[in-house]
Symmetry: C2
Subunit: 286 residues, 2 copies
């Protein structure tokens, strides 16, 4: 079955989906995106993702081209076209096609692109824990915007891959920010800590769900600044993302985290997370 | 006459030039670019631009898809297709088309795109001087790479436009870096100063030519760090770029620079610059 994508109002085969070389996404990285997991054909935490999309669009001053119900309709049709079930949905909005000029173009419709691909449960590697590297955060200062201009993230991620690791954890001015495509949690003596939201990290939907699950189950979770030093003494370290869920980091720069295997606090949280997912599949939560 | 562009080996009408939505330029801003002025049908300072292109490609670890002579042939053919004369040439190389994944794809040919458009002499506004705003440099820490991921630059430039200004001058940690699409010069008591090359600013071809012209004509020019404070006391401020040449900044944040008109040092340098251009048109220099 050929994969179908959405592009500016049309559902077309992925191979036929093309944009002008003058699209500001292509020449400037001038756009924002979201990745939304689909479980049993339904968009997980859709309203949270659409809220963040709207925040990102505001951040780069692109008018949101669709209403919440408009987005839901487009995305649901796309999912159905691609066979429902469990998928990973990607959507992107750019400032559209215009002669190349840094200044915003006038009266130019944004480009809207969305695709969805089959998603399986996180792999054995993710369950067994991953290796990470620790690197300086070289990104811009508006990382709260989910911008497509991801070149810094890509270079850092590839640096991790080259070191036989999976993720690059970043710090700025001695404080941990997040992973190249994930949020970061550090666990010590049973207490879960994650950096507070700011312009220096993405307000992750999975991050927020972990905090919410902690709240709902009386698990001690703090949102506060974390020094690089604290990483060295951590019992557990996790990274979270919408498609990878909660992933234990078992080694950082060739040094074991805690005992070097996924820890008990992670086991508790991933169980709560999977339970929540099952509730979602059953239609009991959004 | 329809404008012709170059895309992956073909010369096609601009309106027909399209790339896949999975091009890493479109989804990641994963590419680099150059802008080269064409005078009398010839590429100005081509070798310098191709050297910097190669540095940028190395910086993001994309293999240079063409040799120096290969680039020269492609670009010259493009210029000729578009009628020669004075043009502005833009070229871009991305990491190519691949399923969306932060990690570098294997065995994926890069996407090569180039376009050229008529260029006129800098407008009266540029000659009369421009207004600028002073803003914090929010960009990433590898600004020496001429990357297409220009979203920060775009947002700052538009901030300038919204303030009825033309350029945004940036500082980081109290030191001036450059403009959103230009390098910066500050002149005090006849001495020309520009920030030294580092990972925090673009090694501008026009910047270097200005330094070279100063050297050749025994004009005092220093490459050193410049504090924001020095801007307040400057006699003249200029920004330089390949297409805008040397532009006097006559007002910053509504405060006049020096006497608020283009200064004598600028007049000397722009004359030397235009002389150099004329020598180039005559085939005497590269």
């Amino acid at each position: 079955m050929s994969n179908i994508v959405y592009l500016n109002g049309d559902f077309v085969a992925a191979a036929d989906a093309k944009v002008s070389v003058l699209d500001r996404g292509f020449v400037f990285g001038d756009g924002v995106y979201e990745v939304i997991p689909i479980y049993s054909g339904h968009l997980f935490r859709l309203n949270y993702h659409l809220k963040r999309l709207n925040d990102s669009l505001n951040g780069v001053r692109i008018e949101n081209p669709l209403s919440t119900s408009g987005w839901a309709e487009v995305l649901t049709t796309l999912i159905d076209n691609n066979g429902g079930g469990d998928q990973s949905l990607y959507l992107q909005v750019t400032r559209g096609v215009a002669p190349r000029d840094h200044r915003f173009p006038q009266n130019t419709p944004p480009t809207i692109f969305a695709m969805s691909n089959p998603m399986s449960e996180p792999s054995a590697e993710l369950k067994a824990g991953i290796r990470a590297i620790l690197v300086e955060d070289i990104r811009w200062k508006l990382c709260n915007i989910k911008a497509i201009a991801l070149l810094p993230n890509i270079l850092l991620r590839q640096q991790a891959v080259d070191a036989q690791a999976t993720e690059a954890l970043m710090y700025r001015d001695g404080l941990l920010t997040e992973g190249s495509a994930s949020n970061l949690f550090v666990i010590k003596d049973g207490i879960i800590v994650t950096p507070p939201k700011s312009n220096l990290l993405l307000p992750g939907i999975t991050r927020d769900l972990v905090v919410e699950l902690c709240d709902n189950h009386q698990i001690h979770c703090e949102q506060r600044e974390i020094s690089v030093k604290e990483l060295e003494n951590a019992d557990e370290v996790w990274v979270t993302s919408s498609t990878k869920e909660i992933v234990p980091v078992i080694e950082i720069d060739d040094i074991k985290v805690g005992s070097g295997i996924p820890g008990p606090v992670w086991k508790r949280l991933i169980t709560l997370y999977r339970d929540y997912k099952n509730q979602f599949r059953a239609g009991n939560v959004q």
